[in-house]
């Protein structure tokens, strides 16, 4: 291709010019648009000293096979210097099924760890005191159940709830939009989220009860602009829903957190994080008249883009991940997961995970990028792009407002079809060779040596089912029945479910038993409008 004639576009399709100068920032006002880090509108970062005060949390997402095997992986990661844990649950757990239910067949422990009851959760954290490490849980439809199990494990470990640190993903809207692991329709799901938030505010003050996630939206094929717009708009939807349920915005807003993707387009990603902070602060102020600065600051976790990794020449992924991780740090992330080189083939091996973690440690301790706050602030290109992403996202906000909000937009399939269109364009660009992916459509090699991958034995499912059946026999049936009946009554009466779910969990009720009740009382969500 003749580079001189080519139109240069970034991953969102925004045309990029050859050079940016002060003239591209005509209306620029430092105090209004950037300001000092830790001050409104937080463009430069949420803390005054950023990484000088505290490095980001190096939090590797992990989970496979049984709780016992994942516990071993957690302890390995902690030994290697990881500073936070993040639980990957298997598909049956994400959908609220037990390992022995027919729909779980073949999937137990495959994509994450199989958790059926509080006993599994206890095994998962054996020799890991919950007051010593922050724990993030990627769980949405059944979030209230897994959170309750985590709390009961803390009880059994003798750890006070007030010392628990971490994040519950608990973001059902992006499930309907992109990730598609759900139980019930939006209304009862949003109600459960509010129950969790209400509990967390009083009982687990250091815990983030929602992580509003753009990661999955991006993985489903969205552009950076769409990721930014839909994620922040989801966040505004949760705020509105919580206020309507009677919560005070300044009580819960400081506990909200976000989760973004770190994709290939280096500067666009950095601009995306900066625009996200500014847009969130401005919208929270405009829409909800929020005044407390703590309620306006957007904190986020980032994960490098799984969908940007290639199965071809997998060692190239190490380089991609390093660049993506660097963008997240230059963009001011509070916590980061780096993907492993083998993740387009299987769940990662121990060696691959270690290399991914070392990538973060090298950025933190060798590159010098953490020495100063927002080092790219003031760069003509970066500021122009930050402005542009903010205004493109606002364009989506206007459309979503006109549709009557995100739940309505999801019902008519709007964000889903926007993302699908973008995913198709991206694939066509790769297929036509217009977009080069090294090792896939350029610089290919006819023969590649296979890399070693992690295998999960077929026996995991069999053993998990056997243990679950044994445990079910050992429970007090009377106590279990009474707890489940109480839960069902509360659900039917629209009561707060946090305590009834915790009691059911203490009575050894399983994820599937509790979620079957949700399916019975609230119904199951079915996707409509597949375009």
């Amino acid at each position: 291709m003749d580079r001189a004639k080519k139109v240069f576009k970034n991953l969102s399709g925004i045309e990029i010019r050859e050079l940016y100068t002060p003239r591209d920032l005509n209306e620029f006002d430092y105090e209004r648009d950037l300001n000092r880090p830790g001050e409104f509108p937080f463009t430069r970062g949420v803390y005054p000293t950023m990484y000088r005060g505290k490095l980001w949390t190096m939090r590797q997402f992990a989970g496979f096979a049984s709780a016992k095997e994942t516990n071993r992986r957690y302890r390995y990661l902690l030994d290697q210097g990881t500073t936070g844990l993040s639980i990957a649950f298997d598909m049956p757990t994400l959908m609220g099924y037990d390992s022995d239910q027919p729909r779980a067949r073949g999937e137990v422990g495959r994509c994450g760890v199989a958790i059926d009851s509080v006993a599994d959760m206890e095994t998962l954290f054996r020799d890991i005191p919950l007051d010593q490490v922050s724990v993030s849980m990627t769980i949405n439809g059944p979030a209230i159940v897994l959170f309750a199990m985590y709390l009961v494990v803390a009880e059994r470990q003798g750890v006070s709830f007030t010392k628990l640190r971490g994040t519950l993903q608990n973001d059902i809207l992006k499930e309907y939009i992109a990730q598609k692991e759900w139980i019930s329709p939006p209304a009862p799901s949003l109600k459960l989220i509010n129950d969790i938030v209400r509990f967390a505010l009083t009982s687990t003050p250091l815990y983030h009860p929602i992580s509003i996630s753009g990661y999955h939206i991006r993985e489903a094929g969205s552009s950076a602009v769409q990721e930014l717009a839909f994620t922040l708009y989801d966040g505004l939807t949760y705020v509105k829903s919580a206020i309507e349920s009677g919560l005070r915005v300044d009580d819960f807003a400081p506990r909200l957190s976000f989760f973004f993707n770190a994709h290939n387009d280096f500067f666009e990603e950095i601009a995306k994080y900066r625009a996200a902070r500014r847009l969130w602060a401005r919208e929270m102020k405009n829409r909800f008249a929020v005044k407390d600065p703590a309620s306006l600051a957007l904190r986020f976790h980032a994960q490098t883009a799984g969908c940007a990794l290639t199965a071809q020449q997998p060692y190239n992924n190490v380089v991609r991940v390093a660049l993506q991780a660097l963008a997240a740090i230059l963009g001011g992330a509070q916590s980061l997961h780096t993907n492993s080189l083998d993740e387009t083939l299987a769940l990662p091996t121990e060696e691959a995970v270690k290399l991914a973690l070392r990538t973060q440690q090298i950025i933190a301790h060798e590159s010098g990028v953490a020495h100063t706050v927002d080092p790219l602030g003031g760069a003509y290109y970066v500021e122009w792009l930050t402005n542009r992403l903010e205004s493109e996202a606002l364009g989506y906000f206007t459309k979503l407002d006109a549709m009557g909000g995100m739940v309505r937009a999801i019902e008519i399939g709007y964000p889903q079809s926007e993302i699908q269109r973008e995913a198709l364009t991206y694939q066509r660009e790769i297929d036509s060779g217009e977009r080069i992916i090294v090792g896939v459509n350029a610089f290919t090699e006819p023969h590649e040596a296979p890399v070693k991958t992690l295998r999960i034995s077929q026996g995991v499912e069999r053993r998990q089912i056997q243990e679950l059946r044994d445990r079910k026999k050992q429970r007090s049936q009377r106590r279990l029945r009474s707890a489940l009946n109480q839960l069902e009554r509360s659900a039917e009466e629209h009561g707060d479910l946090m305590m009834p779910v915790m009691n059911a969990v203490r009575s050894e009720a399983t994820v599937g038993e509790i979620c079957d009740l949700f399916r019975k009382v609230y119904g199951e969500y079915r996707e409509t409008g597949t375009v």
């Binding site: 387009t344 995913a423 790769i430």
Partner: protein, 149 residues
């Protein structure tokens, strides 16, 4: 009978199991349809049995399964067994997603004709499907509910 005859090839596309990663499946559905192939799109969260029943009712020539949950060994086996039980194992069974190379021989034994890995181009998949001469199926059309993509 070949695909050049009166009716176009009909392909059922579905995800099997609980896995919701449907980005690839939707792209393939679009690509096949644009190439003149009729697509019966079942979407996500189907059991193997549900897929087999739909395939039989819809009288499809081929079934394309997308899977990213690492449950491919169990679930493709269920699909193959289901097709056999329904005397429909002349339906072309293929798939795509995350499947390690070492599992390919086992899938082949179940009757899976091809797995497209990450990085496969739409044209490759279209060419593979078009090379299939089609089943010698009856001309009856079916009225089962269909989610057109």
């Amino acid at each position: 009978m070949t695909s050049a005859d009166s009716h176009p090839l009909r392909v059922l596309l579905a995800k099997v199991g609980l896995d919701g990663h449907d980005r690839g499946l939707k792209i393939v559905a679009r690509g096949l349809r644009d190439a003149g192939i009729e697509v019966v799109y079942l979407g996500i969260h189907n059991t193997a049995e549900e897929i087999v029943q739909s395939a039989v009712q819809e009288d499809v020539d081929a079934i394309g399964i997308s899977i990213h949950s690492a449950a491919h060994l169990s679930l493709f086996q269920d699909l193959a067994n289901g097709l056999k039980r329904n005397k429909a194992n002349d339906i072309l069974l293929f798939g795509g997603g995350i499947v390690p190379a070492e599992d390919l021989p086992a899938l082949k034994k179940f009757g899976v004709k091809k797995i497209f890995g990450p990085g496969a181009a739409i044209d490759e998949i279209v060419a593979f499907v078009k090379a299939f001469p089609g089943r010698g199926r009856s001309s009856k059309n079916t009225a089962a509910k269909r989610h057109e993509l």
